[in-house]
């Protein structure tokens, strides 16, 4: 046997070495793969308090018993207190019998001061950073209702400006709300008193309703809302102004926490020229009933859409 020829033992050793080399390579690859996976998941460390088990398992609003609801309200109060250092009062206010709310807005009077916009933010605990606003005031040239001519970002020294009028737009509380129809999980619905509400704990954040709304009324929490603690309004409602979470939809709800307790919406109270009127359309004595009965012209935005808003624009002269 030549010295150069490998002995069978040596051959076996070489195969062994090849095997160990291969399994070594395999485990190195597996290790590298796992560490790369861990590295790519690392942003999750900043997650913080995302969702508690209770919150995750929470039932659908309409399926909760009064007991369930009491527990949920307690939990929310605790969460708010932990986050802002203020104990809020969160209620689940129900619609009242024989009440259907309607809003009327006098376009002759509105001066475009945007006081309603900011009063709404303060009342309804919207995020200040990024700032979420439910009301958008459009500046339109005299004589036109074509919204493509609207200026959304007007900022003159003083309002009103000559040759223009102003039209605040917020959720129109449609009789046939397209937003409700499209929501895949019924997280948004119309209540008996005409208010379309959102269960912020049920919404999955698909934003289909935002695409469906013809009035640009819906706002999405693209990130964790930020509210300075000293600005928090502690009087809250479950379907109203309790603080929202990241990734859910919100919008104007006619200040449910006020109006279902017999008060006016915040935007109405702050309006310096009395352009805003709010009330119960089922009560013939109410101011809104009077306006809709007596005014010769009033407008529902995009009437041709068939949404039949509960929000009416009218003129004095």
């Amino acid at each position: 046997m030549s010295l150069l020829e490998p002995t069978p033992q040596e051959q076996a050793g070489a195969t062994d070495r090849a095997m160990t080399r291969r399994s070594f390579l395999r485990s190195t690859a597996a290790f590298a793969g796992l560490s790369a996976l861990a590295a790519s998941l690392s942003p999750l460390r900043e997650l913080g308090e995302f969702s508690s088990a209770e919150e995750f398992m929470q039932k659908y609003y309409k399926e909760m018993t009064p007991d369930d609801m009491a527990k949920v309200l307690k939990r929310i109060e605790g969460q708010v207190e932990r986050q802002y250092g203020i104990r809020p009062h969160v209620r689940d206010l129900k619609p009242m019998d024989g009440v259907e709310f309607v809003y009327c807005l006098n376009l002759t009077r509105c001066i475009g001061c945007r006081k309603c916009v900011h009063a709404c933010v303060a009342e309804n605990n919207q995020s200040r950073n990024p700032e979420i606003q439910y009301i958008r005031v459009l500046k339109l040239p005299h004589g036109s209702m074509d919204m493509e001519k609207a200026d959304h970002n007007y900022a003159p020294e003083s309002v009103p400006e000559k040759g223009f009028f102003y039209m605040p737009v917020q959720c129109q509380q449609c009789h046939n709300p397209p937003c409700v129809k499209v929501c895949p999980v019924n997280a948004t619905w119309q209540e008996k008193d005409g208010i379309t509400v959102i269960d912020y704990d049920w919404c999955i954040g698909c934003r289909y309703c935002e695409a469906a709304c013809p009035y640009f009324a819906r706002r999405f929490n693209f990130t964790k809302p930020e509210i300075p603690a000293e600005r928090l309004n502690p009087s809250m409602a479950y379907l109203g102004n309790r603080p929202r979470k990241q990734g859910v939809m919100e919008k104007c709800h006619f200040c449910i926490q006020r109006t279902r307790a017999g008060k006016y919406p915040a935007c109405l109270e702050v309006c310096p020229v009395g352009a805003r009127k709010f009330g119960n359309i089922l009560d013939p004595e109410s101011e809104v009933s009077y306006i809709l009965r007596e005014k010769r012209v009033f407008i529902q935005l995009k009437e041709e859409m068939g949404t039949n808003p509960r929000f009416f624009y009218y003129f004095d002269k």
């Binding site: 793969g33 790369a36 996976l37 590295a39 790519s40 998941l41 690392s42 942003p43 999750l44 997650l47 995302f50 969702s51 995750f56 659908y60 990024p130 958008r136 459009l138 074509d146 919204m147 493509e148 001519k149 609207a150 959304h152 737009v169 397209p178 129809k181 499209v182 929501c183 895949p184 999980v185 019924n186 049920w202 919404c203 999955i204 954040g205 698909c206 934003r207 289909y208 935002e210 695409a211 469906a212 709304c213 013809p214 009035y215 640009f216 819906r218 706002r219 999405f220 929490n221 693209f222 990130t223 964790k224 979470k245 990241q246 990734g247 859910v248 939809m249 995009k302 859409m305 068939g306």
Partner: protein, 427 residues
């Protein structure tokens, strides 16, 4: 019964084992894809923590490239059916064995669709609210709930058909007609439904005149039947060159005629749409004006849409000429139509629907880097799935992975070459 179960488990085990075995080309391709998937996963984790603010979306343009890619891929998923129809209705033998490759592509595309919808959710942790019985599904009112049903149904149908046919081949058994033919025909109808329902998702929104047009549905079908088979033409050629699986040119040319006709219909429908939007000059044309020419100094989509139109037109010309019987030109036409339709049906359909907003504001949308990484990650994930599916199914179809050779040593890295399956790999 227990032997059947054991046999099935062995089948699954051997399939998953083979997914980790290949030559160096396979390893590098899978390595690159996995790296991109991880990059995308990393980007998604950032989005999960900080919210959708890391994307380019806003209250004005509330859907972006995620939904655009989703829309495009729903079309690709239905491509499978374009191979199934000639085979089962016209008994086209050339395509017979290739149907499986099409259906596997459909499975990969649907997986990508589901991933794109999931990353678009603000609260993915609450996805269970969608599950009927557990949560609240707004069926039949919400088109989105329809979409969830048809997409998952389509996924199951195709997984069943592919899985069953492959398992039969593995066992060298003739597939029982009743176990798959009814499903094949259901899948054909179902494929049309996944398109139509996805189109209706947009068409149903009265407040968005750009989408609220009956032509959107037919255009969806036409563009999908162009892009889908075009992708399959390219995929089949890659399979052919990498695995030596026998795929005839005739099969590719059968698919060519599908792409050809669909592209002509697609361009015709585009002309119809453009005419309606511009000739009448109504205010509702603002979105189309934004898309094609820009509005109030905002032009974000203009270069995209003209690229798409140019690509589609060139592709249509090449496809209609006898020139495209040569694979080189056919491939160029396919690439052009895929890119053209991806732009036109993704970005070109979804974004302008939001602009101007219902209150007349014009706000541009540009996808952010993070958003783009997530998209790339999902595409890489889809390719990874498709590669793995092929890695499992090609040896089964070639008879190299079968019950008969269960007890022989597993073929290792080199089994993608022409060597007989049992030849030991040279060291």
């Amino acid at each position: 019964m227990s032997t059947a179960a054991r046999n099935y488990l062995t089948f699954l085990w051997r399939c998953s084992r083979i997914a980790f075995v290949g030559d160096w080309r396979y390893y590098s391709w899978m390595g690159v894809l996995s790296a991109i998937v991880l990059l995308g996963l990393n980007a998604y984790c950032k989005q999960f923590v900080h919210g959708l603010i890391v994307t380019g979306m806003s209250d004005e343009v509330s859907w972006g490239v995620y939904i655009a890619n989703f829309t495009f891929l729903v079309g690709v998923a239905a491509a499978a059916v374009m191979m199934v129809i000639p085979v089962y209705i016209y008994d086209n033998e050339e395509l017979h064995d290739l149907v499986i490759f099409g259906e596997l592509l459909a499975v990969a595309a649907i997986l990508m669709c589901l991933a794109f919808v999931t990353v678009d959710l603000g609260r993915p942790d609450r996805f269970w609210h969608l599950i009927p019985g557990l949560g609240q599904m707004n069926f039949p009112k919400s088109m989105l709930s329809w979409d969830v049903i048809v997409l998952n149904g389509y996924l199951l149908l195709n997984v069943h058909i592919c899985g069953y046919l492959l398992y039969c081949r593995y066992n060298d058994r003739k597939p029982g007609k009743w176990f798959y033919i009814p499903f094949v025909f259901t899948a054909i109808i179902w494929a049309v439904s996944i398109h139509t329902v996805t189109a209706f998702l947009y068409v149903g929104l009265g407040g968005r005149p750009f989408w609220n047009a009956s032509i959107v549905g037919p255009r969806f079908l036409a563009s999908a039947f162009t892009a889908g088979p075009a992708i399959i033409i390219l995929a089949l050629q890659i399979i052919r060159s990498v695995t030596h699986y026998r795929i005839t040119d005739k099969a590719l040319l059968t698919l060519r005629s599908i792409v050809q006709v669909s592209m002509i219909i697609n361009v015709f429908l585009l002309v119809c749409e453009v005419f309606k939007e511009f000739y009448s000059g109504t205010l509702h044309g603002a979105s189309a004006k934004y898309l094609f020419f820009g509005l109030e100094g905002h032009h974000a989509l203009v270069p995209w849409i003209w690229t798409a139109i140019t690509f589609n037109l060139i592709a249509m010309v090449i496809l209609s000429l006898p020139l495209s019987r040569s694979l080189k030109y056919l491939n160029i036409a396919c690439v052009l139509s895929i890119v053209g339709i991806w732009i036109e049906k993704g970005m070109g359909l979804v974004i302008p629907g939001f602009i101007p907003t219902p209150l007349g504001a014009v706000v541009d949308y540009v996808p952010s880097l993070n958003e783009t990484l997530v998209c790339l990650g999902i595409w890489a994930f889809g390719l990874l799935c498709y590669t793995v599916f092929l890695r499992m199914s090609v040896p089964i179809l070639q008879g190299r992975l079968s019950k008969a050779n269960e007890h022989l040593p597993e073929p290792d890295a080199e089994d993608d070459t022409d060597l007989p399956a049992t030849a030991p790999a040279p060291h």
